[in-house]
């Protein structure tokens, strides 16, 4: 394997790793358990 192919493979693996890490983190954020909804009101019944 030529030096350039090894460099390219390493770069692709690096990019893949970054993407995978982002994906895992994003999934973790998506799994934050609670949704939030604002409900408007006046201080009067």
């Amino acid at each position: 394997m030529s030096q350039s192919v090894r460099l390219l493979t390493a770069f692709v693996l690096f990019l893949g790793g970054i993407t995978l890490a982002h994906g895992v983190l994003n999934l973790a954020w998506l799994e934050e358990p609670r949704e939030k909804l604002f409900v408007g009101h006046l201080p009067v019944t």
């Binding site: 939030k36 909804l37 409900v39 408007g40 009101h41 006046l42 009067v44 019944t45």
Partner: protein, 326 residues
């Protein structure tokens, strides 16, 4: 109440100081759920920029006509020729006054109605700006507690099961997240049942003074002082008095929820077609839909502004602490 729950959606109170500010946010697409005056909700559904539906009631009764304690008024008939403050021209309180005018044979001009911001009504009555006002709590009780006002009528005595505020949500929210709407509606329904019929178990996040756990958990914590009471209504008074909700004196809210206990009720909150249609008939007669009048060619009815399905779709348990956890 679900804000204090361990699971599920966090419903966050967003407090407004005027109805126009709230309707502006709804029409601007930045607010998707709100408690709002019933006829105003109908007007929004008919003429607003953003389609909305009424999905539940907020409470029943909880409105009173107040006069100065030292005034001679003993009946609505005595208010002939006076000025009365109302919370909004599209309020059911205005419709109630129109009904009373009919019952007591008033002409159109024999009582002058003035739109007035509810929080400012008690001080304005004391200052003599008008002879009476009609408003939702706690601003009727405020004049009583401060010693210068008295209740001429509770709505429960002149229009039983009176409807003031209703819960509206945008059609966009219904279409995109109906489960969220169902969770909100069922949470309100369950909270109301707890308020009117619940036992003395404490709601999650509520603690007796001196009995605060070392690790109280996440979410807002509410401390009930000794002697305040721990019935559901007293717990609710303490919760609602917090800055993020009503930001009112807890003793004032305690008064509202207990003097008398049926001054405001939180059960029977499902939408009833006949009741909403009665309000709509008055709204039409009083010209509330002036921009787009209801006609045979352009009809408007219960199904156009109400969606009762969310209350009917299930029940939701409340996060109550076990009785032995006190």
């Amino acid at each position: 109440m679900t804000e204090h729950s361990e699971h599920g959606t966090q419903f966050v109170s967003k407090k407004y100081t005027s109805w126009p500010a709230m309707t502006e946010d709804i029409n601007g697409g930045t607010l998707h759920a709100a408690f709002i005056l019933a006829p105003l909700a109908m007007v929004m559904a008919r003429e607003g920029d953003v389609p909305v539906k009424i999905v539940h009631l907020g409470h029943r009764d909880g409105t009173a006509i107040v006069v100065r304690k030292d005034s001679p008024y003993e009946s609505f008939a005595d208010l002939r020729g006076t000025e009365m403050a109302i919370p909004h021209r599209y309020a059911n309180q205005r419709i109630l006054i129109e009904k009373l005018k009919e019952d007591f044979g008033f002409g159109d001009d024999e009582i002058t109605l003035i739109d007035f911001n509810p929080p400012e009504m008690p001080a304005a009555l004391e200052a003599g700006q008008f002879e009476s006002y009609i408003v939702g709590e706690p601003f009727a009780a405020k004049a009583e507690v401060d010693g210068f006002g008295r209740v001429l009528y509770f709505t429960k005595d002149i229009w039983p099961k009176f409807i003031s505020c209703v819960l509206i949500v945008t059609q966009e929210l219904i279409d995109t997240d109906p489960e969220l709407v169902a969770e909100l509606v069922q949470g309100i329904s369950a909270s109301g049942k707890w308020l009117d019929e619940g036992d003395e178990r404490l709601m999650a996040g509520v603690h007796r003074e001196g009995h605060i756990p070392v690790d109280p958990g996440r979410g807002a914590q509410v401390i009930i002082p000794d002697g305040f009471g721990t019935s559901p209504r007293m717990q609710a008074a303490m919760i609602a008095s917090q800055r993020q909700y009503y930001n009112q004196d807890p003793e004032l809210l305690k008064w509202v929820l207990s003097r008398p206990p049926d001054r405001v009720r939180y059960t029977e909150l499902a939408l009833a077609r006949d009741e909403m249609e009665e309000i709509q008939r008055y709204a039409e007669r009083l010209g509330f839909f002036s921009r787009r009048p209801v006609t045979a060619e352009d009809p408007f009815g219960f199904d156009d502004y109400c969606d009762p399905s969310f209350a009917e779709s299930g029940r939701r348990p409340l996060p109550l602490q076990p009785a032995d956890g006190q």
